[in-house]
């Protein structure tokens, strides 16, 4: 294991001017490269950056995020995505029920609360990053939208690996959405696939379509076991992606669900 170079804010990393400045560093007045956060120094060729112990989520265009609606405003929703500023979900950026393509009317504005209300969890994609760092989200695809009947777990965003696909149907029978912002959604597989079909010819929001799909005890145990496995990975500071979760899940099969939590989280 290579030696980790830990720094605190203000520590001089190097006085060599040949290095490029990365995240977590700044140039002091006399040309030295100084750390601005507490963390580990990472050097890639001539680029030096400091990876902080923990930080809020900084969004990129195209990231998949899971967020919670915190506010309903005039023509948009404010979403909490564990970033510095609340993210924005515009009314024009969501899919209307029925897959209809039309201009949003005043009627739609009045019905906003029937689409998403405060406290709802949604999966969305980052459409745009504004100059102050806030994100603009969209759910313009059938795989995004309101999340129901599952379990949310929050992890540090730095532990989420960037993948091509963030929606995973695990072999154990549950589906996992790993948001880049650290919000991970675990639900049972059937529920997810049912909600993909939104054909409702009467053009009404589909909140009335809450099918009474009972979630069996085995599914609940699977979801709980997955949640504990993810907690264990976070406790050991390991990167989260579908394979790592699957391996941890397989390794945990020998234990009771609650033992996984107790043994791997307490020291």
């Amino acid at each position: 294991m290579e030696t980790l170079h830990l720094v605190a804010p203000g520590d001089v990393i190097t006085t060599d001017t040949g290095f490029m400045r990365g995240h977590g560093t700044y140039h002091s007045d006399d040309g030295k490269l100084v750390a601005s956060v507490a963390g580990v120094v990472q050097r890639i060729n001539r680029l030096i950056s400091v990876r902080p112990l923990q930080s809020r989520y900084a969004g990129e265009v195209g990231d998949v995020v899971v967020g919670r609606i915190v506010e309903v405003q005039q023509k948009r929703w404010k979403v909490d995505t564990f970033s510095r500023l609340e993210s924005v979900l515009l009314l024009s950026s969501i899919n209307l029920p029925g897959g209809v393509l039309r201009r949003r009317s005043a009627q739609d504005e009045l019905m906003m609360r029937t689409y998403f209300t405060e406290g709802d969890l949604i999966s969305a994609e980052v459409q745009q990053v504004f100059s102050d760092g806030s994100l603009s989200l969209h759910t313009r695809s059938l795989k995004y939208g309101k999340l129901k009947k599952g379990c949310l777990i929050t992890v540090p965003p730095s532990l989420v690996k960037r993948c091509k696909n963030h929606f995973h149907n695990m072999l154990c029978g549950a589906s996992v959405i790993i948001g880049n912002n650290g919000y991970v959604w675990i639900s049972s597989m059937e529920v997810d696939q049912e909600d993909q079909i939104l054909l409702n010819p009467r053009d009404e929001p589909d909140t009335t379509r809450e099918k009474d799909i009972a979630i069996t005890r085995e599914e609940r145990e699977t979801i709980a076991r997955l949640r504990n496995c993810i907690q264990a990975l976070v406790a050991r500071k390991l990167t989260l992606f579908d394979t790592s979760i699957q391996y941890t899940f397989d390794a945990s099969r020998g234990y009771e669900v609650y033992t996984v939590y107790v043994q791997w989280n307490l020291r």
Partner: protein, 215 residues
């Protein structure tokens, strides 16, 4: 003794035991500002609250913010502002909450030390850490870190907040009377004390990384 990363809900936290002072600090941010009119469109703002719990002193302290607490909140905020790179996140706020669980003289310095470590724990970009230590004059001698009894009976108390790498002072207050020569001596002693505290702050952050404390 300083321990970083002790609170589950805060973005960054630190607990400090400085003599008989026991202080807990939690940092939230950068996050949205509520009420909105307080948001600054060009920089972030720093809000600080220093509060003593009723059982922190020998005579029960009323939980309502006293003038002293309001003063210390302001002083700590102004000591941290030069260090935190607020211009990087406009329209946000960084909230620092300090709870003094047990006070025994020099608590504003200990609080500032804890706040620095908590800000670093939260990953908020800073130009430098802020270390603080109080110097004082007791019985005609310049001493370091007066406690409560020495403060009551002593002649002067001088809390100093110092950025060790940039070598700049961000907090300087003097309560008492001293000659210019003693003043110089006090400042030098105080800065030496700050440097000692800085090493302890760095140690706390190191342990946070290796100690596997999870939130």
């Amino acid at each position: 003794m300083i321990k970083a990363g002790v609170l589950k809900n805060a973005n960054g936290s630190a607990y400090i035991e400085f003599g008989d002072n026991k202080i807990m600090c939690g940092v939230y941010g950068p996050r949205d500002v509520h009420p909105k009119h307080m948001a600054n469109s060009s920089t972030g703002i720093l809000r600080c609250r220093y509060h003593m719990v009723p059982y922190s002193v020998s005579e029960r302290k009323n939980p309502a913010p006293s003038r002293r607490e309001i003063e210390i909140s302001k002083v700590i905020k102004e000591a941290l502002e030069p260090a935190v790179m607020l211009e990087r996140f406009p329209r946000t706020a960084v909230d620092v909450f300090i709870e003094v669980l047990q006070a025994d003289g020099g608590s504003r310095c200990a609080a500032l030390d804890a706040a620095s470590v908590a800000l670093a724990d939260a990953g908020i970009p800073m130009r430098d850490m802020v270390s603080a230590c109080a110097a004082g004059k007791v019985a005609d001698t310049v001493v370091l870190d007066v406690n409560n009894e020495e403060d009551q009976a002593g002649q002067a108390d001088m809390p100093i907040g110092y950025m060790p790498n940039l070598e700049k002072v961000t907090l300087l207050q003097l309560d008492g009377i001293m000659s210019p020569k003693e003043y110089k001596e006090c400042i030098e002693t105080g800065i030496k004390g700050c440097k000692i505290v800085y090493e302890i702050q760095k140690k706390a952050l190191n342990e946070r990384y290796f100690g596997d404390d999870h939130k």
